[in-house]
């Protein structure tokens, strides 16, 4: 392939990179233009998403970059989710006296890293993508710098993230040493008949590193602390899109690079998934802070996505993609609700704060109910469809025990989602809530409407799109 054809594949990333630079310069020279930079960021992300959906497909840069149905699917979802978080987060910071233009720029840079993760074709672009998005996220987590908890969260995120990057690199170097190449397609040739001990060792390290990024148990320790400390809209952002990006990368690495060793990584993933479901369900029961609770909920949900992936079939990858996209809507919407709520000038973050919310903010309470029921997996909300396809894939792949245990885990987790509904609907209010900001309320209610009923129509489109994306990985 010629260099210009290679560049053609990278247009979405190029748009984001150049866009981020332009916005940075604009912000630096016109410090009052924060909102303009924000809308510019939304525009850049929309353009990149459009380019990803329509752009040329193929392999470029000697196989280091892959643009196909899978990367297009993931990038559209990632860029859309990033675009939503810009107005949400920027206004939130403005109301707290933090007027900065860096927020949208950092989101665009994170989106660039995630876009690279979705289209990575070798271990090097994998690492570059992961680092690029992680560095942006560390800064975002600590952005509310007058807040001690936020700074703590940022530091924790950074230290543990660096550790996981180390694991990734170590695994990558082992795989390179034993397989003789960093390209996924070359690794696939080397492990065609199963992985030898050395490659397997490297693979396990790679899995551990990625499990850190998606916060699967037992690599989840950072999640509750970071979620609790980081600014609410930022949590809504990094609980959604980065997880999808990491899961797509996960799927591509395992399917394209280690497609010959499915039985070997399948057992690792099943265990990882079930531990995550268990930890997320049981540890969530003891939480009082909703951000921490949702951290455990995200651990459990990532567990389900991993169970879907562990099927090792195209159906499994498809179910994982559907799961992550639908989950992104839930989690973004839930944190939009939290970002919208204040009681007498104080952020509402605990169960007790939510008492009687239905009487005061029926719209937001209904939206939060929808997100909770969806995360619980109750039909007809989107979370039900997400889990449905995951369990179907697991059963069809001959993993009935994993599917059954996963289902039982969802009943345990049901308790804390119901508790939130109980507090909002059954209890009396303890104080007056402030009027919620328009943009957060709009986003929350819009996403709640997606959870139900829009999802019933949207799935007609998402389902085949995820199917095409999953087939791009070349699994059976």
């Amino acid at each position: 392939m010629t260099f210009s054809a290679d560049l053609g594949l990278a247009y979405p990333e190029l748009i984001l990179a150049i866009g981020a630079m332009v916005l940075l310069v604009l912000g630096a020279f016109a410090p009052k233009a924060g909102r303009l930079v924000g809308w510019g960021g939304v525009l850049v992300l929309a353009a990149a998403a459009f380019q990803a959906a329509t752009g040329p497909f193929g392999r470029g840069f000697a196989g280091g970059m892959i643009a196909d149905d899978a990367s297009a699917f993931a990038q559209v979802a990632i860029f859309a989710s990033s675009a939503i978080s810009i107005p949400l987060g920027q206004r939130w910071f403005e109301r707290r006296g933090v007027h900065n233009f860096e927020f949208p720029v950092l989101i665009v840079l994170a989106a660039l890293g995630m876009g690279m993760m979705a289209s990575a074709g070798d271990l090097i672009s994998l690492y570059v993508g992961v680092e690029l998005h992680s560095l942006a996220l560390y800064v975002l987590a600590a952005m509310h710098r007058d807040n001690a908890k936020a700074s703590e969260a940022g530091l924790k995120y950074f230290v543990l993230g660096a550790l996981s990057s180390g694991l990734l690199l170590y695994g990558a170097s082992l795989v390179y040493g034993f397989a003789g190449s960093t390209l996924f397609s070359d690794i696939a040739v080397a492990v065609k008949h199963g992985a030898n001990t050395g490659v397997l060792f490297g693979l396990v390290f790679l899995i551990c590193g990625l499990a850190f990024k998606v916060s699967a148990a037992p690599f989840h320790m950072w999640t509750p602390d970071v979620y609790e400390g980081a600014p609410t809209p930022v949590v809504g952002f990094f609980a959604a899109a980065p997880k999808l990006a990491a899961m797509v990368l996960f799927a591509r690495l395992l399917a394209e690079g280690f497609g010959g060793a499915i039985p070997q990584w399948q057992q690792v993933l099943v265990v990882l998934g079930l531990i995550s479901v268990g930890v997320g369900a049981f540890a969530g029961l003891a939480q009082k802070n909703l951000k921490r609770l949702w951290a455990y909920s995200s651990i459990a949900n990532v567990g389900y996505a991993i169970i879907g992936l562990s099927a090792g079939t195209a159906e499994g990858v498809q179910s994982m993609l559907i799961f992550m996209v639908l989950y992104m809507v839930d989690v973004t919407g839930f944190f939009a609700c939290l970002a919208a709520l204040k009681r007498q000038g104080r952020d509402m973050e605990t169960f007790d704060d939510m008492a009687g919310l239905f009487k005061e903010q029926p719209g937001i309470a209904l939206a939060m109910t929808a997100f909770s029921l969806s995360a619980l997996g109750l039909p007809p909300f989107s979370g039900f469809w997400a889990k449905l396809f995951v369990f179907k894939a697991a059963l069809n792949a001959g993993l009935p025990v994993a599917a059954a245990l996963g289902l039982v885990g969802s009943v345990v987790a049901a308790f804390y989602y119901l508790r939130l509904i109980k507090v909002m609907w059954f209890d009396g209010a303890t104080g007056v809530t402030d009027t919620p900001p328009v943009e957060a309320k709009t986003i929350a209610i819009g996403l709640a409407l997606f959870t139900f009923p829009i999802v019933l129509g949207a799935l007609i489109w998402i389902y085949p799109a995820a199917d095409r994306a999953a087939r791009a990985f070349g699994l059976a």
Binding site: P362, L373, L378, P379, P380, F384, L388, F389, F391, K392, L395, N396, P400, A403, A404, L407, V408, S410, V411, A414, F415, L418, I421, K422, W425, F426, L459, I460, Y463, P464
Partner: protein, 494 residues
């Protein structure tokens, strides 16, 4: 005309109307509260009219599904609706009880009336959807989502321990349901179809059947509820508002029996045959044990709740007898229990609205102050006992007759349950209604008003008419019940 979709979604029109009231008016505005009640009543009555139309048009000689509607969806799923002799009367029962519930709540519900009416209308849609769905995933959606409005009805408008009861109700049922979901997914994976009529003719491997049957059993046994997973029911009943109890006993409990007849028996005949002794044992324990438990209760509602568990024992026994008489009896018993137990909870509601206690010891001698009420309560107590001439008798005698040929001992022990039911029901009646008034608070308790008469009149009529003319129901259920039994007997080689 897609009449089934119309019946299912008609209540949602009422929801839209009340939502418009809520959005454009104030929540506590007495005018919109009053309007919301009327909207709910008119919508439920319109649904009832459509349901009556459905039953009138129903062809009783056709054992298959009628009024079919099919539309493709995604992922190989279909939107599919239809009714047969087993489900059509449940649609009518649901539509029949809903307006009664709305009228019964007219004055008893004072807070958040708009939301209450919305919850009931949504519940009506969901319950109808369960009975008319012919795609198994669609069935599951309606079945499972029905938990949410009931959870809110118990939790918001319930009594003292409403939160505990609501959680217990939800989590018990959810645990059963997710196991059923796993089985549903496995069935779709094996047979490559989600259509209920196709699954009914698909032959699953007997070893697989056992697991699938157990998973479905987990869900339906909780819904039914069967001993020993019945403990959520008394709590839910006691804490729910009156109309909530009516819906719970009248319709939601029937989902379990309907599920056994729609899924367990036709889809897993070998497994059903294998587990019949287990079902018989649990049914008999339910009939005898919970009758004795009912006798010891001090709370009127709890007593009736336990009696529901006992009556449902007859239903499971009849279903798994695998005889035409047993199936017909089980269906009849479910419909009749829907009317009678609903009416009994309304009877409790009448005195509870006046005195705000359900303690049996509080009452006594109210016959002197409330003669009409005493007569009404007497009729339904007799129906509950199974007195010939009331609808309660027909179901019990048919299930026992049907079972007698299959397992004589089961039928004989179950027959003692009829005596036990007379013991607890009559002693309840005596303690509440007869005697002289000791409690001074009862001195000026008023008799039934016109609204309450209007509630009870259709229930009384249904109890008596079905008691003397059971053929009205039997004609409709006959063909489908026979078809179910012949397919079942052919599959187990009997």
């Amino acid at each position: 005309m897609p009449i089934l979709s119309l019946i299912t979604y008609a209540p949602l029109l009422g929801v839209a109307g009340i939502l418009a009231l809520r959005l454009f008016g104030k929540a506590d505005d007495p005018k919109s509260v009053e309007a919301s009640k009327w909207i709910a009543l008119v919508t439920t009555l319109a649904t009832l009219a459509l349901s009556v139309l459905l039953v009138v048009q129903f062809n009783p000689n056709d054992a298959g599904f009628q009024f079919n509607e099919t539309a493709p969806w995604f992922a190989g799923l279909n939107y599919r609706m239809g009714v047969d002799g087993i489900s059509v009367l449940f649609v009518l029962l649901n539509a029949f009880l809903m307006p009664i519930c709305i009228v019964a709540s007219w004055k008893a519900i004072e807070k958040r009336v708009l939301e209450y009416m919305i919850a009931f209308l949504i519940l009506e849609t969901l319950v109808t959807g369960v009975f008319v769905s012919l795609d198994i995933i669609q069935f599951y959606i309606f079945f499972e989502f029905g938990l949410v409005p009931m959870f809110l009805i118990i939790g918001i408008w319930g009594g003292q321990r409403r939160v505990y009861a609501a959680f217990k109700f939800f989590l018990y049922t959810l645990l059963g349901s997710v196991l059923m979901l796993a089985a549903i997914l496995a069935m779709i994976g094996i047979s490559h179809t989600s259509s209920i009529p196709e699954l009914m003719t698909y032959h699953f491997d007997p070893a697989v059947q056992t697991w699938l049957w157990l998973a479905f059993f987990a869900s339906f046994a909780v819904k039914m509820p069967m001993w020993p997973v019945h403990t959520w029911l008394p709590d839910a009943h006691v804490e729910a508002p009156t109309a909530g109890s009516v819906i719970l006993a009248g319709i939601l409990l029937k989902l379990g029996g309907y599920g056994f007849m729609r899924f367990s028996l036709p889809m897993f005949p070998q497994a059903s045959h294998l587990f019949t002794p287990l079902i018989f044992a649990l049914s008999v324990i339910a009939i005898v044990y919970t009758s004795l438990v009912a006798f010891r209760q001090v709370d009127i509602k709890k007593l009736i709740a336990y009696s529901s568990v006992a009556h449902m024992g007859f239903v499971t026994m009849g279903i798994f007898s695998g005889t035409p008489t047993g199936e017909q009896g089980a269906l009849f018993q479910m419909l009749s229990h829907g009317v009678i137990s609903g009416a009994l909870f309304l009877c409790v509601g009448v005195v509870y609205d006046r005195m705000h206690t359900r303690e049996i010891a509080f009452y006594g001698g109210i016959v002197t102050r409330m003669p009409w009420y005493a007569a009404t309560f007497m009729l339904f107590t007799m129906g509950n006992v199974g007195l010939p001439g009331t609808s309660g008798f027909v179901g019990e005698i048919l299930t026992m007759t049907g079972t007698y040929g299959v397992s004589t001992w089961t039928a004989i022990v179950a027959a003692t349950g009829v005596i036990f039911s007379a013991v607890y029901a009559l002693s309840l009646y005596r303690r509440v209604v007869f005697g002289t008034i000791v409690n001074p608070k009862l001195a000026d308790i008023g008799d039934l008003d016109w609204r309450e008469v209007a509630i009870f009149a259709p229930l009384i009529a249904a109890t008596l008419v079905l008691g003397v003319q059971p053929g009205l129901i039997m004609n409709l259920t006959q063909a489908s019940a026979d078809h179910l039994v012949s397919a079942y007997q052919a599959a187990i080689g009997g």
